[in-house]
């Protein structure tokens, strides 16, 4: 059972890495989209 506990802990650590970096990727994507929208809005205003 103890071996299974270590396995479970390691799997949890791995999944946490994957999901956490997925979250970071989404944050980056949101920031990029919002930035692009803002830039195009600024460009429209200057026309």
């Amino acid at each position: 059972m103890l071996v299974k506990a270590w396995e479970f802990a390691l799997i949890t650590f791995g999944i946490t890495w994957v999901v956490a970096f997925l979250v970071a990727g989404i944050i980056k994507a949101i920031a990029t989209v919002v930035q692009k929208e803002r830039k195009s809005a600024t460009a429209d205003n200057t026309k």
Partner: protein, 400 residues
Amino acid sequence: MFILELFQGIYTFFLVEPAVAGARLFLIALGFLLIYLSYKQILEPLLMIPMGMGMLGVNGGLMVMEAGNLGTLFVNPLASNTEQLMYFLQVDFLQPIYTFTFSNGLIACLIFMGIGAITEIDYLLAKPFMSIFLAVFAELGTILTLPIAMAVGLTPREAAAIALVGGADGPMVLFGSLMMAKDLFVPITVVAYMYLSICYAGYPFLTKIIPKRLRGIEMDWRAIPRVSKGAKFAFAVIMAGLLCLLFPVAAPLFTSFFVGLAVKEAGVTRYVEFLSGPLLYGSTFFLGLTLGALLGVDIILNPKVLLLLGLGMLALILSGIGGLIGGLIYYKISKDPFNPLVGIAAVSCVPTTAKVAQKCAFKANRKAMILGFAMGPCVAGVITTAIITGIYISGIGFIK
């Protein structure tokens, strides 16, 4: 003896075994100590004063009830069938709070709504990869304490519940222990909150494992990019949806946190005022008072409590060390100057650990301003702890 029977709180000392009477006296003394330390600002007074008062009240207020049984007029967590429950709801003054907000985890969710409404995510959104990187390292205690706790005799569910203390997030520990180890949720939550409130004093000692020249590294806070309100609002909504999809068992917590964040970023000020004021502080007050009232003699006489005290401490120390290791690794790989103390902030005791990082950096170098950078990992730690809570609750049944 007749005169003594009038003062039942004292009389009941003579009706129980000496060990139980001693434990009662110990808990009363502990209640006084918590109140004193909170008054002196050594412990967090917001939670610890109500908790200490609850302990004093419940352990002092033991009396002879109907049919000669001993009991109090506070709360009965063991009431199970409907008839019993209806009786205690009418008799015990904290029973409605316990029955309707504790046993279903509502109180943790209410606190999370309030926390969401006061959380600043600018720094997390400005530096997402750095924040997340450090936050995962700072979960070392949450990960390692699970097998260690099982090795010393706890069941998988109890081990997972106490391991969550390493995430340094009170409501998450409360929610996780209610879901996984209901019998031990009182000592686990009390251990968690007691340790969290001494983080501010304890973690600075841990940071000394980093050499002074690294602790004093200056970081340019002007380099942190500004984040728009739209991005923050989109983050709250998308994250809530994604994390609920991935971990439905922790969906109430995710929804609570992100709804607080969403109303804040949407600028709904009336909701923000309600969530961050009356709701957050009202819930925290009743959480402390009810937890204190649940700390009766039966809890302290449970032999597992001593084990939980040790494991809770171990989880927090390991998480702190993990955060600092993450900080050192990031210091090595970062192109810009990076203070490894930011790593300790990733132990998500918002905002205490970020303040600890700033305090220690300032002590090493009066020009080092790292609080802005530290807030990102601090908030990211809430997310990683929530992810691990979700995995533990859904997956712990696989360990057989």
